[in-house]
């Protein structure tokens, strides 16, 4: 290429037949050679697959994420196969089967008399098999948390996308509303919402979702603000991509990574908040088995029947810990790829 470069130290160049400036034929030959020589170096090794496969590989290396996933798989299995795993229906009162309220656990393997029926976590205050209730509780807890997070993230993402993309007064209005929501302690606000809507599972889910919308809105908005300035967005505009398509097909997929991480961590929070609301009697109503309300029902028996408090609490912790570990692992797995 340097052959064709103008050299100012030369006499004024006039294009001549034997040395034209744009030697197309000559450079054609050179090009073919160059391409042959360089195409090997021009190609980066791309044996790796998609984004998610890379993240997947990364996450398997994280011990904490593996522990989190194991904890959660056990919970998921409990929830999915509850009718098979639980020896009794969760609502069945067993007084006619020779049990009394708050019986301690009876496990035949550990020397409990064979003539007594087996209740591995004992009997609760209303004569129901505690283990069965714990198992069914996984269903309510997981379902409620997932639905709450799904609802909150969909609305939060929508708000964040619109605020970040359109900016101006739209942004100001939406984000100030979000700030108002965020200025209340979340549980307090959830209690207010439930008080207005009335207690119950659906309302508790709604309350927790509404309270967490601002978190998602903020994260998505900030991603949109940075993505909007990326060169590929200008490139897309130069290709004639419309604003809505740009938002939905170009910007939104780029906000997914942080969204997935905080949604995973958000499930942990939602689990805890559902349990809290139920503990306060504002969430899931008896007799539906829910760990928070089970904890509340037996909280006065901590010293006389500690197992009835301990296991419900343990399950809540198990669930929260699982999602937190998985969320942390996901963040570590996905973030370094973005930095690369």
């Amino acid at each position: 290429m340097s052959d064709d470069l103008y050299d100012p130290s030369d006499e004024p160049l006039e294009p001549t037949d034997d040395q034209p400036l744009n030697t197309i034929e000559a450079s054609d030959a050179i090009r073919d050679k160059v391409r042959m020589d360089l195409s090997g170096g021009d190609v980066s090794a791309s044996t790796s697959g998609g984004l998610w496969r890379t993240a997947g590989r990364e996450i398997i290396r994280k011990k904490s994420a593996i522990v989190g996933m194991s904890l959660l798989s056990i919970l998921l299995l409990l929830a999915a196969f509850a009718p098979i795993i639980a020896p009794y229906p969760p609502d069945e009162v067993l007084f006619d089967q020779g049990v009394s309220p708050r019986d301690p656990p009876c496990i035949h393997l550990f020397g409990c008399a064979e003539e007594n029926s087996q209740h591995i976590l004992g009997i609760d205050g209303n004569g129901r098999d505690y283990f069965s209730r714990i198992v069914y509780g996984a269903r309510v807890s997981l379902l409620a948390a997932f639905v709450a997070v799904l609802f909150a993230s969909i609305w939060g993402t929508t708000v964040g996308l619109i605020a970040g993309f359109f900016g101006g007064w739209v942004d100001n209005f939406l984000m100030r509303v979000m700030d108002v929501l965020l200025s209340f302690p979340s549980l307090l606000l959830a209690i207010v919402v439930v008080t207005v809507l009335g207690p119950g599972l659906i309302n508790a889910i709604l309350a927790i979702a509404i309270v967490t919308i601002p978190q998602y809105a903020r994260i998505v908005r900030s991603s949109v603000l940075s993505i909007r300035e990326q060169e590929y967005v200008s490139a897309d505009q130069a290709l004639g991509v419309s604003r809505w398509r740009l938002l939905a097909h170009r910007i939104f997929p780029n906000t997914l990574t942080p969204l997935i991480v905080i949604a995973t961590l958000g499930v942990a929070t939602a689990v805890l908040e559902i349990a809290s609301l139920s503990f306060l009697g504002l969430g899931v109503q008896p007799p539906t088995p829910e760990w928070g309300s089970m904890l509340a029902a037996e909280r006065n028996q901590v010293f006389t029947a500690p197992h009835l408090v301990f296991f419900a609490g343990l399950m809540i912790m198990w669930n929260v810990l699982g999602f937190n570990l998985l969320g942390d692992g996901l963040r570590d797995a996905i973030d370094p790829r973005l930095g690369r």
Binding site: L5, P12, D42, L239
Partner: protein, 334 residues
């Protein structure tokens, strides 16, 4: 005003003024630019950073964002004024009839989509093709821009491509819909010299094979010498010289152009000093009253011209295909 007879002009920019209304004042990024690009012609647009090259090209696509605004002028594309079109009509022109490639090839590709799917999307938007047909055409396009093993590359993500590869993908995207005009904004700046040569060849090949008109925006005169048929030199928001490439390099007229050419370092040429143009590009908010280059102009001092700081020079025809905005060539100016 250019009087160069250009047959069958694809793009004609007349008196374009694009200003940015900032808190500190009005930045006249483009201030009365006239440009004409003929069919199948490669026009080089040269100038220092901040002289308005990119703003000119973004104005053509009407992608100037707040606080910028096109305040004056016409941009005729095949005789139709782009400034009079609705946003929707404009969108159907972008990427379809006029497209653009950018300086940062990797950054200009969306990181979460494969190269192939991004090219395919152009077909989806402008030719209403289905995904599958679009993907097939994307692979074809990748092959056309000289990407080896195009089927595998189509499935690669941008971070898996090298700079040169990504620039080829960008070019494939820009050419997908068969545009009549391609604007290349510093297409080779971010690339290795060897890859630069390949990309330049590729663009020349595109012009020869498809008859696409190309505007190459660059600050690198070497690239212009390689590729352009005609060159416009921009300084502080206006065109200061325009000529056929050979003429411009052989007989540069404007002191700024001469300075630019003189400041190219050459491999194997050892000089004590590299020629430099003293001073900096003037503040576009507070432009000098007369000729914008006057404060940095040595030729003016040598010739002892007073008019330069008092009056704005007009473009003067040196000959048929050579115009310059300088009082040195105006009769009676001395």
């Amino acid at each position: 005003m250019t009087t160069t007879a250009i047959n069958d002009p694809v793009l004609e920019i007349r008196g374009l003024e694009t200003h940015f209304f900032t808190r500190d004042g009005v930045v006249k990024a483009v201030d009365g630019v006239n440009l004409t690009v003929g069919k199948g012609e490669i026009l080089g647009l040269v100038g220092e950073s901040g002289c308005g090259k990119s703003v000119t090209s973004m104005s053509v696509l009407r992608l100037i964002q707040n606080p910028g605004e096109i305040v004056e002028g016409t941009i005729l594309f095949h005789g139709e004024d782009l400034l009079g079109l609705s946003e929707k009509e404009m969108r159907s022109i972008r990427g379809d009839r006029i497209s653009m490639i950018f300086q940062q090839p990797v950054g200009s590709l969306n990181p979460v989509f494969t190269a192939g799917s991004q090219i395919a999307e152009v077909y989806e938007i402008h030719e209403s093709l289905k995904k599958k047909a679009g993907n097939a055409k994307a692979v074809e396009m990748l092959e056309k821009v000289g990407i080896p093993d195009p089927e595998r590359r189509a499935k690669a993500y941008p971070h898996e491509l090298s700079g040169g590869m990504a620039q080829r993908v960008m070019i494939a995207m820009a050419l997908a819909a068969g545009p009549e005009l391609l604007i290349a904004d510093e297409p080779t700046t971010a690339l290795d010299v060897t890859i630069q040569a390949q990309i330049i060849d590729l663009m020349r090949e595109i012009r020869n094979d498809l008859g696409t008109s190309i505007i190459v925006i660059t600050h690198d005169l070497g690239i212009v010498a390689e590729i352009a048929d005609r060159v416009s030199v921009m300084y502080a928001g206006e065109i200061v010289e325009e000529a056929v490439t050979e003429t411009l390099f052989a007989h540069p007229k404007h002191p700024y152009t001469r300075g630019l050419i003189g400041s190219i370092p050459l491999a194997g040429d050892r000089r004590e000093w590299l020629e430099v143009i003293p001073g900096r590009v003037p503040n576009l908010i507070d432009l000098p009253g007369g000729c914008r280059f006057a404060p940095r102009c040595k030729a003016r001092e040598e010739a002892g011209l007073k008019i330069c700081t008092e009056q704005r020079p007009e473009l003067i025809n040196i000959d048929d295909a050579h115009t310059v905005r300088c009082f040195l060539y105006q009769e009676g100016a001395k």
